[in-house]
Structure formats: structure tokens, C-alpha cells
């Protein structure tokens, strides 16, 4: 075994790997997170695909050591997957601090390595927020356009779920796996919710409730977020590896610094750095930028040229604008009976009952019933100033009767909430770092209060002593980066069109939550995956037509 301090150092591999460009590539994908991985997998086999990622290829054998980091207090969240340092430097400005390096992982698999794995479809009205709720633009596509891709994405990721949610959008087939059974604490919440007329239902998990495509079912490590040692939780290494088996090439530790273009408004090359200090040019017929909601606009802005002085694909001027995240609303307390928390790191019941009451003043929001309220004894044991019998007694008294609820709230798109390039701070390669100005409007803050009211009413009905409320003053981001290269049919109002192809460059697509014109309040990854599969079809169609 190596202890927690050893994970993540793949130095001995660095020099042995060929990181030179792939000749005659059809498609270059920037980013090996879920979007890039799915695009690459879908196109590999028929096309020569190369994937460039800024971070390393993590060794699966290190996952227990990363789990130890997640438990030990000496390590912060970014340490678990080696985020931070000059490579990941950034600036935060605006109304609220944005903890970017807590919110992402760089490397093969991307942020699915540390995500919780909750995968809901957006609601139908989320695609028509402007016309249905009077907030933001409508998407140029509807739920019906994405519906088959949602089903395909659920099969690709492996989703455990049930069709018991009366508020979910229509679906055509059962989830690929049966749902996780409700938790014991869900049964306690159910009584309180029934008394209040509040509906509970299951929640879809990108986590195996049974063996799925060669991957393990969940074995209950309880550290899903930020690391699943068993591989039961989906992460994008699944599709990266499959793409490689089908002929794709992955180049890790290869941050793309800019995209080059010709005079015909086509991207010609991705210029990337390698650990030996060299720079390379990866040419391809088509480019798919899948670098997430922060690095995607940063790359476009870093690619400014004489022809595109404000950044590539930025004819609209909107690259980097409308940065959104979901806002957390929560409440918790204790009961006078056992609640059996912290056996698993995911939740099994939710409430979407209030989601579609959204309008101009009320944002959509969803509620979650936690299975991990209160302290985890093993984590708590490592942080006290006691040991022996006093520690045992403290752990017994701390653990066992906590309950908590969470929730996510939509953030209205606001041009002043944005990602730009820092004026005078650069990363380890001398490129300006991302500067995040995150602002949150009153609609979201008021909705957090509304979510808190419901949460507290449920907890009180349950008989809990409510000990904390994460309201407007204590809210934080859910680490879902969205909106910074928004989708629109109108080139003046968006960066990409309805096919996620940039308006300005005919052979460049963006596969990311950065294309979301509005965010809804559902975790974004299933929608990212569905859009990525749709992008892959679009790229293939264009390549087939030779355009």
C-alpha cells in the first residue's frame, strides 16, 4: 500500500509517452471529460480521433490512496485529484467567491472523477424558460429534440432509476438498471412528507445497482464524492478507454493553449504544450472543444487573432458571459432516534414537486433527502484532540441521529456573471488564467428561502431539532459550470447554434454545459452527455458530407 500522500505522481511515465500529434486526424477533441469522451467514443472506429487533455491519465490503482486522501483531514478536496498549483491558477472576482479548484478535476475522466453521479433530465419547460417563465432565452432545441439522446446517454453512462417520479419529463423506456432502494432515513422522511402532502420519489444515479457492462455494482465505500474506488460510479474513463480500444489516441498532460484558424473561418490546429516544454500543432478536419464551462471560454479567448481580436467564435461578444452554477439550499438537524447515515455517499430520494412552479420571480428548484447527514465517524476520529475511551464516547454521541435535506436552485443568466482572462496573472505556461466574476441575482436568493421553508417544515414535521439552515447568506455553488458559450439560433445572441457548432467557425463544435442558455435546476451531466452524443452525430454528418 502507499498512503494517501503518494497518489497522483505519475512522473516516471511522463517522458516515456509519445505526445506528438496524430497525422491526418479527422477529429480533434479538446478535453477528456464526459463530453469529450462520449464524442470520441461515438466517432472512433469510423474516424481517426485524437483527444487532448490538460491533465494526466490517472492510475486506477491509486483510487484507494485517493480515497484515503478524501477521508484524512490533511487533504483538501482539490488534493484528492491533484488539482491546484500554477497549472490551475485562477482569479475570483464579483459578488461571491468562486472556489474553482474545488469544482473541477483536470485529467482523463475530468470532473466525473469527483462528481456525485446524479443524472436527471432537464424538464420540458427548462428548454423554454423565456416563453414559459419569462426568464432568459429559450433554447433553440426542445426536450423532444434531446429526448432520444437522453435515453442513449442513460444507456452509455449506466443509470439506475425508476419511473416513479410524476414530475419528471416523459420517457420512452425504463432506466438501464433498477433504482437503488430507498434508505432507512428516506422511510422516516416519507412519513413526514405524507403528512404535509409532499411527494417523494426515487432519483436516477449514474451508479451501478447491479453489474453493468463489466463494471462493479456499488459496494458501499461511502466516498462517492470525490472518489469511487470500485468503479461502480460512472466516470468518463469508461468511454475514453473504449474510444482508445476503437482506435482513438489520447494525449494527456497536453494543455491546448490556442486554436488556430485559416482565412476561410475554419479551425486548422490545436496548439498544445507537453511536459517536456515543447509545443505541438494537432491538425484535424473537425474540432470539438469539450473543456468545461470555464476552460472552454478561456481557450476561445486565448485564441484571439487579427481576424478575431475578441477571441475565437466570439462574434456575438458573449464568450465567457452568462456564467451560471446551481445554488445550494439546505437544512438539517437531529432526531431523538437513529437515522443510519453515512453508509453510502449518494441519495436515493428527491422531490421535484415544486420545480415547475417556476416563473419570473421564482426559480425552479429540487429537493434532496440526504443519506449522509452529520459527521462520518472515521473522519471525525482523525480531527479531535482526544483518543481512547473519550474519543469512542464522543463518536458515539456525535453519530447516529442526524438528518438533512439539500436542494438545487436555478441561477438566472446574467451577462455580468462571466469568465474572462485575468489581466496580469498567468499560469505555469505563461497564459492568462481564468477570471471568474460570479454574481447571483435576487430570484435565486428568494427561491433559496422558499426551498428552506419547505425543508424546515419537513424537518419539523419529522420532529427534528433544526440546527442549521443554508440559506441565501450561506449558499454556495454546486460545481456545475454552465452558460459561457451559450446556444442560440441567432449569431448575435449566442456562440453556438442549435447543433452546438460555433456560428463563426464551420468545423468547430462545443460539447459542454457551457452551451446551456439557461440552467434549470437539475444536475447537468446527463444533459451534457446527451448533447455530446448529438454533437458526435452532427460532426459525423458534416464529415460525411465533406463540409
Amino acid at each position: 500500500m502507499s498512503g494517501a500522500g503518494l497518489a497522483g505522481d505519475e512522473r516516471s511515465d511522463v517522458d516515456a509517452i509519445d505526445r506528438t500529434p496524430v497525422p491526418d486526424a479527422d477529429v480533434c477533441v479538446v478535453g477528456a471529460g464526459p463530453a469529450g469522451a462520449l464524442v470520441a467514443d461515438r466517432l472512433a472506429g469510423d474516424r481517426d480521433v485524437v483527444i487532448l487533455d490538460a491533465g494526466p491519465r490517472f492510475d486506477p490503482a491509486d483510487r484507494l490512496a485517493r480515497q484515503e486522501r478524501a477521508i484524512r483531514p490533511s487533504y483538501g478536496r482539490p488534493d484528492v485529484w491533484d488539482v491546484g498549483g500554477e497549472r490551475d491558477a485562477h482569479e475570483s472576482a464579483g459578488d461571491r467567491y468562486y472556489p474553482l479548484n474545488h469544482a473541477r478535476v483536470k485529467g482523463v475522466g475530468g470532473s466525473t472523477l469527483h462528481w456525485q453521479g446524479m443524472v436527471m433530465r432537464l424538464h420540458e419547460d427548462d428548454f423554454n424558460s423565456g416563453s414559459e417563465r419569462g426568464v432568459g432565452p429559450d433554447w433553440p432545441i426542445d426536450y423532444a429534440d434531446l429526448r432520444p439522446y437522453y435515453a442513449a446517454a442513460e444507456r452509455e453512462l449506466g443509470v439506475a432509476g425508476a419511473s416513479d417520479n410524476p414530475y419528471a419529463p416523459p420517457r420512452e423506456e425504463p432506466h438501464p438498471m433498477p433504482p437503488f432502494e430507498p434508505s432507512y432515513s428516506d422511510s422516516l422522511f416519507a412519513e413526514a412528507c405524507e403528512s404535509l402532502g409532499i411527494d417523494m420519489h426515487s432519483v436516477p444515479n449514474a451508479r451501478n445497482s447491479e453489474p453493468y457492462e463489466g463494471r462493479s455494482p456499488c459496494v458501499g465505500y461511502g466516498t462517492c464524492q470525490p472518489v469511487c474506488p470500485s468503479g461502480a460510479k460512472y466516470d468518463a474513463t469508461v468511454h475514453v478507454e473504449r474510444a482508445e480500444e476503437r482506435g482513438a489516441t489520447v494525449i494527456d498532460r497536453a494543455p491546448v493553449e490556442r486554436l488556430e484558424h485559416d482565412g476561410d473561418d475554419r479551425v486548422t490546429a490545436a496548439v498544445y504544450a507537453t511536459p517536456d516544454g515543447e509545443r505541438h500543432r494537432q491538425t484535424a478536419d473537425a474540432f470539438v472543444v469539450a473543456a468545461g464551462g470555464v476552460e472552454t471560454p478561456r481557450l476561445l479567448l486565448l485564441s484571439a487573432s487579427d481576424r478575431y481580436p475578441d477571441g475565437l467564435a466570439n462574434g456575438s461578444g458573449h464568450v465567457g458571459e452568462f456564467f451560471m452554477d446551481h445554488l445550494f439550499a439546505g437544512a438539517g438537524g437531529t432526531l431523538d432516534e437513529p437515522t443510519r447515515q453515512n453508509h453510502v455517499g449518494f441519495y436515493t430520494s428527491a422531490c421535484d414537486q415544486f420545480y415547475d412552479e417556476a416563473d419570473e420571480s421564482r426559480a425552479p428548484f429540487k429537493l434532496e433527502f440526504f443519506n449522509y447527514a452529520g459527521p462520518s465517524p472515521v473522519e471525525s476520529a482523525l480531527s479531535g484532540d482526544d483518543w481512547g475511551d473519550p474519543l469512542r464516547d464522543r463518536l458515539r454521541s456525535e453519530y447516529g441521529n442526524h438528518v438533512a435535506m439539500g436542494g438545487l436552485v436555478e441561477q438566472r443568466p446574467d451577462a455580468d456573471s462571466r469568465v474572462t482572462l485575468a489581466g496580469d496573472r498567468t499560469d505555469d505556461r505563461g497564459n492568462p488564467v481564468p477570471r471568474i466574476e460570479w454574481t447571483v441575482g435576487d430570484r435565486a436568493l428568494d427561491t433559496i428561502e422558499r426551498a428552506n421553508e419547505i425543508q424546515v417544515s419537513i424537518l419539523e414535521e419529522l420532529g427534528a431539532d433544526v440546527e442549521w439552515v443554508a440559506g441565501p447568506d450561506a449558499t454556495g455553488p454546486a460545481y456545475h459550470h454552465m452558460g459561457t458559450t451559450r446556444m442560440s439560433d441567432d449569431p448575435d445572441r449566442g456562440v453556438v447554434d442549435a447543433d452546438c457548432r460555433t456560428h463563426d467557425l464551420g468545423n468547430c463544435w462545443i460539447a459542454s454545459s457551457s452551451v446551456f442558455p439557461t440552467s434549470g435546476a437539475m444536475n447537468p451531466t446527463l444533459t451534457i452527455a446527451a448533447l455530446a452524443l448529438r454533437v458526435a452525430d452532427g460532426v459525423e454528418a458534416r464529415l460525411s458530407r465533406g463540409t
Binding site: 500500500m1 502507499s2 498512503g3 494517501a4 500522500g5 503518494l6 497518489a7 505522481d9 505519475e10 512522473r11 516516471s12 492510475d59 490503482a61 491509486d62 484507494l64 490512496a65 480515497q67 484515503e68 477521508i71 484524512r72 483531514p73 490533511s74 437503488f180 430507498p182 434508505s183 432507512y184 422511510s187 455494482p217 456499488c218 459496494v219 458501499g220 465505500y221 461511502g222 466516498t223 470500485s230 432516534e337 437513529p338 443510519r340 453515512n342 453508509h343 453510502v344 455517499g345 436515493t348 443519506n371 462520518s376 465517524p377 472515521v378 476520529a381 482523525l382 484532540d385 482526544d386 483518543w387 481512547g388 475511551d389 474519543l391 469512542r392 463518536l395 458515539r396 453519530y399 447516529g400
Partner: protein, 186 residues
């Protein structure tokens, strides 16, 4: 309540055993290559041999583990048999144990394993391991907390019996299945 070798195996399954992370061996090997080939940390006293590590951690466990636990010695020995490999982490354990024993000899006239339980407890507090935050690269107190005290507490409370001791039979870090969360209290 009795700790068993199954608990030790479970702790290793949660935290990793020798061979599970080849990377660790590489890093340790790199460290070894970078150093003076003539250096032997055991010979020069900066690292303890594995028998001393076992004796010391077993002695410390009798202080930091609850008094109503049986089977502690076998648990610690089995855990360390998997844990003390050629990784940098294991090297950190050996070095910190040597440092702790050096302090024990200086302040109490005997190594940790030869002190009575009250003096072991006093030594750990004199070192500052009770109040320190763990840090593998920190002060002596922080390293003793990381490599000695928390190494033992992590092994115990990530095991089924350790978890059960405080009310959770499937503690975080232990792959105890996806059923226990559904069950009500026993």
C-alpha cells in the same frame, strides 16, 4: 468487542495493501535513487525496522484505542503487515516511529513499547500529537499525529468492528455493501 484479522483485512481493503499501488513503490525507489546509495535509514537511526514499528504502534494502540477492545495486537500486526511496504508512506511511518522512540528515550528513559500506558499517553501529549492537526510534512507533532496516531485510528474506525463500536457497521472507506443503508437500527 473483539477486533479480528478480518477487521484488519477490511482496513487494508479500505486503505490499500502492499502491491495495491505500484506507484508508491516507484516513488520510494525514486527517493532511494536520489539519495546517497550508502545511506541506510535504519542503520543511521532515522528509521525504525519493521519489528520496532510493530511494537511501537501496538503499544500506542493500547492508548489510542478504546479500552473495551480485544484483539488489538493481532489487528495492528496484520494491518501493518500489509501497510509496511516500500512506499514513501511506509517510509514516513518508519521515520516518525524512530523519532518518537528517540523522544521517548530522551524524556522517559525507554522506548515507547517499554513505557507503561500512562507514560505512553503522556509522551504523546508532550509531543503535542493530541492537539496537532495531522500533516505528513509538518512538525514532529503533526507527523506523529499523521503517521502514528491517525494511522491507527484510521485503521480502526474504517473497519467493521471499529465502526460498529460507534454505531455504524459499514463506515466510510469500508466496502460493506449497498444494503446496510436501507436497514433500520438493530
Amino acid at each position: 468487542m473483539e477486533l479480528t484479522r478480518r477487521d484488519a483485512a477490511a482496513a487494508l481493503a479500505a486503505l490499500g495493501a502492499s502491491g495495491g499501488v505500484a506507484l508508491g513503490a516507484r516513488v520510494a525507489a525514486d527517493r532511494s535513487r536520489d539519495g546517497d546509495p550508502g545511506e541506510d535509514p535504519e542503520a543511521d537511526g532515522t528509521a525504525s525496522d519493521d519489528e520496532t514499528v510493530r511494537e511501537t504502534l501496538t503499544a500506542v494502540a493500547s492508548v489510542v484505542y478504546p479500552s473495551d477492545l480485544a484483539g488489538v495486537d493481532a489487528f495492528v500486526e496484520t494491518f501493518l503487515a500489509g501497510r509496511l511496504d516500500d512506499s514513501a508512506h511506509a517510509a514516513g511511518v518508519r521515520e516518525t516511529v524512530a523519532e518518537l522512540n528517540h523522544l521517548a528515550n530522551s524524556w522517559h528513559g525507554a522506548p515507547v513499547a517499554d513505557l507503561d500506558a500512562a507514560d505512553r499517553d503522556r509522551l504523546l501529549r508532550e509531543v503535542g500529537a493530541d492537539a496537532a492537526d495531522e500533516d505528513p510534512d509538518g512538525t514532529t507533532a503533526e507527523r506523529v499525529r499523521y503517521y502514528v496516531v491517525n494511522e491507527l485510528l484510521l485503521a480502526l474506525y474504517a473497519s467493521p468492528t471499529g465502526g460498529e463500536l460507534v454505531g455504524i457497521e459499514n463506515p466510510q472507506g469500508h466496502p460493506g455493501g449497498a444494503e446496510s443503508y436501507q436497514r433500520g437500527p438493530p
